[in-house]
Amino acid sequence: MADSYPTSIVLTDGPLDLDLLLAQMTLPTTGAAVIFTGVVRGVTWRGQPHETFHLEYEAYAPMAEEKMRQVAQEIRQRWPEVQGIAIVQRVGRLDVGTPTTVILCTAAHRDSGVFEAARYGIDRLKEIVPVWKKEVGPQGETWVEGHYHPRPGE
């Protein structure tokens, strides 16, 4: 009954309610949920160690929503057993310790690809969804640059 599985795409400058999202993606047949959430990291050790005060997110909103929907469709094609899919991206100023994004996938059982689906969702969001973040720290402001170049139509 893939037609009746819920999909939620949210681009928002408001706070997140993980409990509500989970409830919205939970069906009577659901027995597993995987929630990935990105968090604003205050202290980074990997690469060039540095401190972060907060992040400022910017989006090309209408395209970002279309691409988030595309990511959800790609998950459905690859893992047909996944039931609910919620993809959330926050924009605006986000302080250290705050959730920034959520990929939430539910399924009947944990061995249905639900872990891989959530992992794919966040990796793909970071490739094709037009959102950018600026780091504000002791050294001032720095835009974070991505690396992925999507193919035409991707």
């Binding site: 090309y60 395209m63 994004t101 969001l125 037009p130 950018w132």
Partner: protein, 96 residues
């Protein structure tokens, strides 16, 4: 801040009016979020990019690196811009 610019003979019905958007570092480089341009028919995405780099030299460092979307789809450099297209230029994405 928006601005309107005619890049060729103005007032002609053969011109294609497109809306150009800039995000993140590219917006900083250009100094504005959007502009409206009247372009000759059959202008390609690559031609528009060249034109913008000529007008905003700070974009030069992003030549070949910036991403472009035409009507919210990632587009090839040789794509001809459709009528009244919305064209967005931005660096590789860094959300999440």
């Amino acid at each position: 801040m928006n601005s309107t610019n005619d890049l060729s003979f103005s007032g002609s019905e053969e011109m294609n009016r497109v809306r150009v958007l800039f995000f993140a570092t590219l917006r900083d480089d250009v100094g504005q979020r959007s502009l409206e341009l009247n372009l000759p028919q059959n202008t390609t995405l690559a031609e528009l990019e060249d034109l913008l780099i000529g007008r905003y030299p700070r974009l030069e460092r992003m030549r070949g690196l910036m991403l472009a979307a035409v009507n919210r789809q990632y587009a090839a450099p040789d794509q001809v811009l459709p009528k009244n297209a919305e064209v967005a230029f931005f660096p590789p994405v860094s959300g999440g």
